[in-house]
Each structure stands twice: as C-alpha cells, then as structure tokens.
Symmetry: C2
C-alpha cells in the first residue's frame, strides 16, 4: 500500500514537471509511467489494478567503443500518444480473428552531448505492455555496434518463476520452478547435457519467462518481432530482484551490428491476475507486422506421421551403412556400401507410412534419414555435411512421391543442416527447387550441434539473420518451414505465416532421451508457446521405450490421455502423431481422437490454467461447429470441473471423453484410459479427475436434430 | 665444407640405419634427405650442388585437444619412389608448354601410440622441392582440428630476405630488404596502415618469401595448391634462423578443420644459384592438379581499360550521391537523390571509354561504381552492402552493353563485396546470371575491409573456402575471375584457368596512396608472382597525381618507360592500361607499346634478374614470331646488356625500343623517354641504361624479306 502511495506521488510529481509521461491500457487496468531520471536515463514502471508490478526500471543501450553510449544524458524532445483498434484475420491460428487494441506512447529523446536521437515506443494493451527502441535516420547515429542492451525489468518481490537457464545455443532444458532468489543455486543442476550449449550466467534465464507473485499476479516477459537482432535473455540481479536484458553475442563478442534507421524487437510484459489471460494473449502476434505474403493459399495446417520416432528411440538409424568412418559427398560410393539393416528411410517402409497416413486421414508423411550424409553428420563441425538433394540408394524419391500422390498424401521434406549454416545457404535454392520438383510443400529444418562457422551461436544476430533468410526465400518457393533448434519464435508467423512451426524447446524426443518432467507440458504454453506454435510431436502411446529399443530404458512421463490432450493444449497448425503405426494399432479407440482432432481453429477458450499444474482449453474447429477440449495435469491428481457454456445455445452435441483411468499414473500405469460418450449441451458441466502426468481429451461433435 | 662433410656423414649413417631416405632431383643437383629423429619426429634437409641449403628441419602438425598430436612417435612403415616426366599445355601462360619432371619419395609413417598414419610426399624438381602431408583414410584419424602446423625451414645463415610482415588480412605492404636477423627490428615500420590488417608476430613474414644467401644461392619459400586449408605464413626463430609455418586461424582460433582422407597444400622450396631460375620456375603450377574444366574455349586473356584510376586518385567517386548517411538497398530511393557530380560510372563517360578501347584495340572496359551501395560501402562491416545487380540511375546496363557490343568491346563486371562474404554468396547465382544476361564474361571481385562475419580473416581456411566456392561456381557460368584482396594465389589457375588473376599484393593503386618503393616491381615477380599472375594494372603515364586531383600529392615512383616494361615483366593474362585516356593521348607514341604488347606467350626467357635490382625478360607472343622485352630497374642507374639470341636464326626483325631518356628519373623526371627503331637479328645485342625506378620496353616485329 505504501509502495503504491509513494509511486503514485512520484509519478504525479514527474508528470507535473513534464519529465514523466503516463500511458493507460484501454480498460485502464494497466498504467505505465515513463520518466527520465536526473541523469537523463530513461526509465519506466508499470502498475496493474493500482498495484506496482514493475518497479522503476532503466532503459538504454551500451555501444561498443562509445563511452557515452545510449544510456543517459537524454532530454525528452517530443512525445506522441495514439490509439489503435483493429481486427485482423490470421492465415491459421487459435482463433479466426484477432483484435489488436492498444494505447501508444512514443517518446523522442535527444542526447545532449551527442545530439543523437532515440525513440522509445510503448504500446499498452489490456493484457500487457510492449515497448521497443527506435533509431531514426539521423546524421549523428548511423552505424553503431551494441555492446549490450540494458533494459531492466525490476520485480516487486521474490516471485515464483518457471525458468530454464540462459543459453546461447539451446532451449532444450527441463523447466525449474523456484523463487527468483533460488535461481543462482539451482542453475547448475538445471543444465543438462546437450549437443550444443553455452550457458553464460548463474542467474541467466531465457524468455518467455513466466512468473507468479505471492499476490497471485501473473507476469510474463518475452520479446516480439526478433528480426535482424540478437535473441534476448534475462540476467537477474538477485540482490535487488531486477532482470536485465542480456543479448546473445556474435562470434566476436559484439551483440548487434546496427544501421539506422532501425528498431529493436519489442520487449513484452504480460500481466494479469488470471493465468488464462497469459495463455490467450495475442500481444506477441499483434506487435509483429501484418502478413507480407500476398497469396497465402499454399499455406495449410498439416497433420502428419513420420519415419522419425524409431530413430529417436534408437530402434532404427538415420544412417544407411556402417562401412565408412566418414563421408565425402559426391566421392563416397554408397552403391558399394553394405546396408546396415537399420536404415528406416527406405522406400518400402516409407510406403507403409504412406498407407497408414492415407488409411487414417493424415495429410502428410515426414521422412528423416532419406539423404546421403548421415553416417558422420554429427559432432564434427563438418561444413559440407549434406547436399539436401541426393537420396540414399534405398530411397526412391520419385517413386515415393508418386505413391504418396496416388494415395492423396503429401511428403514432408527434412533438411537437417547439422548447424552448418553456410553450407545450407549454398544449397538452398537447389534444395527448395528439388522439393518443388518432387511435390514437397513443407520442410522440417534442423540445426543440431554447434553452429558452423565454429564460434557462432544459435541465437545471435548473425544466425537469426540466417533463419530469416531461409524463411523469406521459402516464400519465393511457396514452402512452409518448421524450424528445429532455431531461435524460439517471437510472433514472426504473423508476417510470414509460412513459418508454421518451430521446435526450439524441449520436445517429445526428450521423453526418449531420459524423460521430461511430468508437468513439462503444463509450463510450455506459458513459456515456449508465447511466441508461436511448437512442433511438440505428441501422441506417444508406448511409454516404455525399452519396448522399441531394449537398450533404451527411457520412460515417457505422461499418460496416454495426456498425450491425446496435447493436440488441443499445445496449439500448433502442424501436428504429428509421432509414435509408430503399430503402437497406434494397439489402441485404435484412443487413436480415434488424434484422427478426429482439428488443427485449425475459429475460437479458443482457456477454461482453467495454472503454470506447472494444469491447463484446460476448449477450441472450436475452423469452419465447423465441433469442439475439442484438452486438459493436461501436473504432478498431483486433480479434479477438473469445466462448464461447456461456450457451446452454441440450443444445439445438441455428442462428447467423447478420453480420460485417465482411476488407477492410471504417468509412471506406473500410463496406458490406463477410459473412453466415454455422453450427450452435452451448452448447459452441461464435465467433472474429470486427471492423475499425475495425466489429462483428458474431449471431442464434441454437433448432432443433427 | 665442414658442414657438408658432416651432413653427408649424418645422412649416410641414417641411410644405413634405414631411418633415412634420400631423394635426388633429375639432374642430381638437389638432394633431399628425409629422416626420423630419435623421438620419431619426421625431419628433412636439402643440399644444392653439394652445399646444405636447408638444415635438418622438423615436420609435423599439432592437433587441438590432442596431447600426442602428429609431431613425433612415428616409425616409417613404407617408402615409395617414382619418377614423373610429362609435358602439358596451359590454357594461357608465359610459355606454350610446361614440362613437369620430378623424382618423388612418399614415406608412410605410423604413430606407435595411436596407430595413426601420415604420408609425407616429396617431389624434387631440378629447381626445387615440394612436399605435403597426406592423411590417408583410416579408422584412427578421421576428423581432426589443426592447432598449428609445425613445418620448419631451417636456414643455413643470416640470409638477405625480401619480405612483407606476416598478416592475416592484407599483403599490401611495401617490401623490406634486410637480413633475417633484422626482421624483428624492422617489422613495425614495415606495417603501413590498411583497411584490414592483422599482424601476428614481430618475426612473421608472408610467402612467397625470397632470399639470397651470402654465397649467392637464391631460395624461395611458398606453397602450392592452397585448397580447403589455411594460408601459411612463416615465423622466424631469429636465434636459430629457423622458419616455421604459421597458419591463419579461423575466427575461433582453430587453424584447420580436417577430414581424412585429405592433404595439406604443397610447401615449396625453390633453389638455384641463378635468380632467373626462380622467376622461370613452374614448380607451383606443376604441383597443382591438371585442368578440371573440359571446355576452356571461353577463357581468354584480356587487355582492358577502365573507369577506375580516376576514383583511386580521388578525382572522381564510386558513389552517386552525397545525400544519404547510409543506404538500405531496395529501400533507399536513388531516383530522388541529388547526383554528386563526381560519379564516374555514368553511361556517357563509360561510352567514351568504350570508344577509346575500340579505337585502340583493347578487348574490354572495366567499370567500377556502376551499382547501388557505394555511399556507405566501406568501414561499417555492413552485411547487405551490395546486391550486384542494381545499377545507379545514370548507368544504363543494357545501353552500355549494346554500345560496347556494337564496337566489338566487352564489359568487365565489378563485384566489390566489401568482404561481406555471406552476402556475396547469397547473391552469387543472381549476380553471375546477370553477367551472362548482359554479356559480361569476366569479373573483378574485391574484398576490401574486414571480413564479415566479423572475426574471420581474409586468409583463413573458412574464407579461402569461399574464394574457391566462387571460382568453381564461376565455371558453371563460364565466367573468369580476377580476385582482389583475396588470398595470394598458389597455382590453382592450372586446375581452374578461369582464375585469370588476383591482386593480393601492393598494386599500382598504392602509387596514388602515397607511392610504392621504386624497386617494388623488381621484387614482386620473385614473391607475389610465384603463385600466379597479378592484376598489377600498370601503364600510368602521369606520375604527378595532383594533376588529376589537386588534393592528392602522391607521386608514382616509376618512369614512363618502366610502366611500359611492366606489361612484359609482370606476367599476366589480364592487363590493364590503367591511366586516363587523356593521359595516353598526350603520349601516343609511347602508348603504342601498350597497344602492341601481347598478353599470351609461347616462350619466355628471363635474360637477367636480381631481386630488388633488375629484371629483364623476353617473351614470344603466342602464335606469332613477334617478341617483347621488358626491363625494370631498381634504385640505382644500371646499364643493361642483353643478347637477342632467342630470335629465330636467319630472320630479320625491327625492334622499337622505348627507354628512359638519359636525364630521366622516377622522381624528378619520370616522363622523359626515348623511342628508337633499329633492325635486329638473333646475333644482335642491345645495351641500354635504365635510370632509378626506370626501365625499357622493346617490341620486336618480324620483318618480311
């Protein structure tokens, strides 16, 4: 209370002096105050429903070889306010239409000593704040190098956070839930082994960062529109509970090569006392530029199966032969090699997947390991590692394509780049043309291992520039991109909706690499999915991986019902049924849900949510009156109680409920599920108990009179 | 004498033990001894006509994260000798046919502790030794990283050396002539300012390194076939007078990413008591693979003029306008810009050059500054700096092309990359196709400034890989490459004869940047030209640069006659008449030599040569009986006396001698020259005095009876 009183006084004082500017959200719940401190440092703070949620926090950037930098010594020379309220239609999404409504404040600052100008633009939505730095065209600031950005987010207390350690090269860590003050002590243990990793601080974390205050306020920090800039991490001053931006460096240590006029990405702060608002927030998309692609008719959501999980579990191999210690593409003669007998991407096996896809209504089949080079693809920083166009002797590109076409199924291409980004760019046009020539519309790209050229990082400006280059070139070829191991998304799919997915977090594959925490999927939508959909590749029905590969004792820490729910709770226009057909054939009744579930939506309602504990969401399939509900549950059994008041009044529906059996448990009894059919209307309620690591999935089909 | 005795004893002893291998050149003047030292370190030494020229020198490589490395612990498991004698025909060259004759010794070494194999292959020619490391396909050595190569060249004394400081990013230094022991003290002063430079050691020097012993033996150290490896410099242990290889690092410090089977480049040691043998040596070419291009009909020597010198001198600008502090290609609207009035690459001006070329029998016109982006091309590590296809508003690509075509003249393209190598590769196919679409067959490429990505070096394995990528892609488009600021050549033009030139040394432009030493061109053929031709761009007739640009007080440290001679002494299939047409028009009689001189040769004879002092060479034009002679002179006046006994017996010729006038001097009276016509036969002699920085040029035309 005292805090509020004094900060209001403070704000009024500066308002009066004219050094302070205030901005309110459309519903006035959020109030942002911008102030220049005595030494001309720009600073902002944020209150929510009268309570401070962001204490006064400094803004600014440190420049290389520049003692003055862009940190202080500013005076405000202009400030403009405006309002924006528009509704736009995404090409695909959780909802058919998205409202973009904010009040904006743009302050122009001039640095006395250098005559340099900086604009900070704030957009305050009902569910949060976005702001960015803009560097207008001017003579005194043209080319400059960012040494570090110093954007602060001063927390009001020792909040609970759901975090992964800051890292320049991977996001594939399990989440840790702890107080902010505990991050330092837990950081080392939070860093598991990875193919490419570069942690940088014991109090560094990645965004989107999800937090909850002791007062029950949810705060989420992320960025939007990360284009031509380095990925932002946050470093915590755990004495004062102040987060500060920490950018990913280029190989020479510089954090940004800038040429004015230009902007930084938006830094976003979502705030609500209702966790569902965080999940439903469209701030990230709304801060991105509108769609730049004129004709988007070639961009379509995809439900697919694939030759992949058997390699991830170690049952099969990506590689074709064990004959060679190393490969020289174009020189190594595969026709003379002894097949290793475990190469899954062979024509006959792939055709089985095409049959399975066709029989079960899937759009496409992904095939990994179809091309020369997998024998030594990993761990050597190899430059010319793949050419993306030469199949193994046992993979008939044309034959497979024709067979798929005859069955009405598309093939999804795979471009594992081995993080050799120059090599990928050198082959990109040929690789994309090859796709078009053989009927591929979508490609899963991968960046496993350290970036080559060695010394670069996965999330630097230099490498982010590469991902963007690939995405934009894909537009020329009408190709959809699903980028694995790339920088985590920041809403760019609004501008380039051919970016239909990323992995860029700890996905289902880690269930075969030792397992993920059972509540992992109750956190991901609050963190990884804030910036865009995730190709989480769910749908695992066999949790005991030793049944696929006796040498792999990993266990999928999820019940079968939870796996079904993921198709609804982990929003993505790209959804894989990742397990092997034979495992689906053992549970065809449960598999029915995956066959039925939609992948594009008119409406979405987050019914209940608590990070780390549970998420329940209902979605209406695009262009239909059918609904799908998903619930994922955390570490303790929980009774979920939901109203179906989103259904259309007066209509009758049949709900099929796929749920944990009473005795189910993610560890000891994951495959125990029940299927129930009931009639429902918009007056109905559903009560369902979810076990640890469990959940439920419901398909609600409109019934004719 | 004593040295010789003991080293022979030493050699015999080890020969007897079987730990030593000997190799003789075809004429037995050179004898190489290979030995394994007690600790299994491979070592070699070299004698010439019974005298030691290379003392026992160690061989080997240090590997990253490998304590054992490939330095010692070897045993010899095999050794094979063979002889090679073949004559081959270059596509262009100093001579029509080249004999490749050597004796070879290939020793196979096995490292006891690791079971790893290494082959060292020695080829001993009459004029020198070449050797390289080979890493055969094997299980115990597949992927490895070179931390440093440790190839020694142990000198027998404190030789005189003609050197430039070792540097990862430039070769554009003036040569220093000194004792080896003096390098350390002179190194700092030998490093002049450059757009991109990274010296690494006070006793580091670049190759080709030219030396002369007190006994009058000439020794030259260089490398051949630098492909997929880092450029080798030499670092001198000036206590023991031992040079050791010092590779150029990648941005992360690694010096080589290797995958067996592979080879290093050849390390070459040319030896003779006659300096002319060094100039005439074909070792570098002979150690490269034969031509890989099937149809070479599109590869042709080029004599050209260009819109260039006026910008180099500062008379004109590459840029079009002064309106913008920075350019965003595709965004910046040049059509609205105010022309700066100094942009030389405008259609009208270029047509004047086309006229001049056509009137004077030149093949082509180079135009620099034709394309958008020059306003801020330099010094900003800018990534998207050029697109290579968008002309300025005042340069009509199609119009210029058609005009040139109508006049029988080709246009030479210019691709200044600003060292942004990823940007160049991204645009390469479009840039090359643009060339083909508009009739360009050849391109001058440039890499001015620090390599982008920042942190990489011009001569690292990573960047050398780029130059090679460009060269090989150019073959697909039938495009000839003239690479400026690239790594200095190492004979790759045998394998890829579309590499018709490089700058990669201190060229004529430096005469406008303050001047080069007057004897510079008496050293370059012993150093820079050992690996391939240089686009030296000679032919400057106006030595007082302030006459072109009052603000530039630079002076060309050469007489006019010396400038003419360069067309013969600086062998290149690509020769520019670099000055402005108006300056040629002032001296049309002297200009006649440039019009007449051939650029492709059947025979070449170095008549006399002393590094730093003088070079006189006679060449027979390809497919004709005409000869051209050039003499360049150093710092003191000198009487040159040459026999024309290379002319055909019984034939009559008319010789036109362009020489320094008696009172000429490079500094005070450079433009004083004489032209004399005399009748000559193969019995004739010519005596001619060359002044400091002077020389003479002679065209010898066969006369009908």
């Amino acid at each position: 209370m005292k805090n509020w009183f004094f900060s209001s006084l403070f704000a009024l004082f500066f308002l009066a002096l004219g050094f302070s500017q205030q901005l309110k959200s459309p519903n006035e719940n959020l109030i942002m105050s911008f102030t220049l401190l005595n030494d001309g440092t720009p600073s902002y703070s944020l209150t929510y429903k009268g309570k401070e949620v962001i204490k006064p926090s400094k803004l600014g950037l440190e420049l290389k070889n520049d003692k003055i930098s862009l940190l202080n010594g500013f005076a405000m020379t202009d400030s403009k306010t405006s309002t924006f309220d528009e509704t736009w239609t995404p090409v695909w999404g959780e909802v058919a239409k998205i409202r973009n409504n904010y009040n904006e404040l743009a302050v122009t600052l001039k640095q006395n000593e250098t005559n340099r100008q900086l604009v900070i633009r704030f957009r305050l939505f009902n569910d949060g704040l976005g702001f960015r730095y803009e560097f207008p065209a001017q003579n005194n600031l043209v080319y400059f190098i960012i040494k570090e950005e110093h954007t602060q987010f001063a927390m009001t207390g020792d909040h609970t956070a759901f975090w992964i350690a800051g890292d320049y090269d991977t996001q594939e860590y399990d989440y840790t839930t702890s107080k902010l003050s505990e991050i330092r002590g837990l950081s080392k243990g939070a860093i598991s082994s990875n193919a490419s990793q570069t942690p940088f601080s014991p109090t560094g974390v990645q965004t989107a960062l999800m937090m909850k205050t002791d007062d029950g306020i949810y705060i989420n920090l992320h960025e939007a529109a990360l284009i031509n800039y380095a990925c932002m991490h946050l470093n915590l001053d755990d004495k004062n509970m102040v987060f500060e931006s920490w950018l990913t460096p280029n190989s020479n240590g510089d954090k940004g090569q800038m040429q004015a006029p230009c902007n930084t990405p938006w830094r976003t702060i979502m705030v609500s006392d209702d966790a569902r608002d965080i999940l439903a927030s469209k701030i990230t998309l709304n801060l991105n530029d509108p769609c730049k692609i004129e004709d988007t008719s070639w961009i379509k959501p995809v439900k697919y199966v694939g030759v992949w999980w058997e390699m991830i579990t170690g049952k099969s191999s990506w590689s074709y032969t064990n004959d060679f210690p190393a490969i020289q593409l174009g020189v190594t003669d595969y026709s003379k090699a002894q097949p290793n007998g475990t190469h899954a991407a062979n024509t006959e096996h792939v055709k089985q997947y095409i049959d399975f896809a066709a029989d079960n209504g899937f759009d496409a089949v992904l095939v990994e390991g179809w091309n020369e080079g997998w024998e030594d693809w990993f761990g050597h920083a190899k430059d010319y590692v793949f050419d993306f166009v030469t199949p193994y002797p046992d993979f008939d590109v044309i034959g497979v394509h024709e067979y798929a076409k005859s069955k009405g199924v598309k093939m999804i291409m795979h471009h594992e780049t081995s993080a050799a980004i120059r090599n990928y760019e050198r082959h990109l046009d040929k690789a994309f043309q090859f796709m078009k020539d053989h009927g591929y519309d979508a490609v899963k790209t991968g960046y496993v291992g350290n970036i080559v050229p060695v010394g670069e990082h996965h999330y630097s400006q230099w490498t982010n520039n590469h991902y963007q280059y690939v995405l934009e070139k894909a537009v020329d070829y009408q190709i959809m991109i699903n980028g694995h191991e790339a920088v985590r998304p920041t809403g760019i799919c609004r501008t380039y909706p051919n970016l239909i997915g990323n992995e860029s977090a700890r996905g289902t594959e880690f269930q075969a690499f030792g397992g993920s925490k059972p509540n992992h999927v109750t956190i991901l939508p609050f963190t990884r999915l804030i910036g865009g959909p995730m190709d989480y590749t769910p749908g695992i029905f066999e949790m005991d991986i030793s049944k696929l590969n006796p040498n792999n004792h990993s266990h999928v820490n999820s019940t079968l019902a939870n796996q079904l729910a993921l198709y609804v709770t982990m929003y993505s226009p790209l959804q894989m049924a990742a397990d092997l057909p034979e495992n689906y054939n053992r549970f065809t009744d449960a598999f029915q849900f995956i066959k039925d579930v939609a992948i594009d939506w008119d409406e979405s309602y987050y019914l209940e949510a608590e990070p780390g504990e549970y998420i329940t969401v209902a979605r209406k399939a695009k262009g239909s009156n059918n609904w799908f509900i998903g619930n994922v549950n955390g570490l303790t059994s929980r009774a979920s109680s939901i109203k179906l008041d989103f259904l259309e009044k007066g209509k009758k529906y049949e709900a099929t409920i796929y749920a944990d059996a009473k005795e189910a448990h993610y560890k000891t009894n994951p495959q125990a599920y029940t299927i129930q059919k009931i009639k429902v209307t918009n007056k109905s309620k559903i009560n369902q108990v979810s076990v640890p690591g469990g959940g439920y999935a419901i398909s609600i089909i409109e019934k004719n009179k």
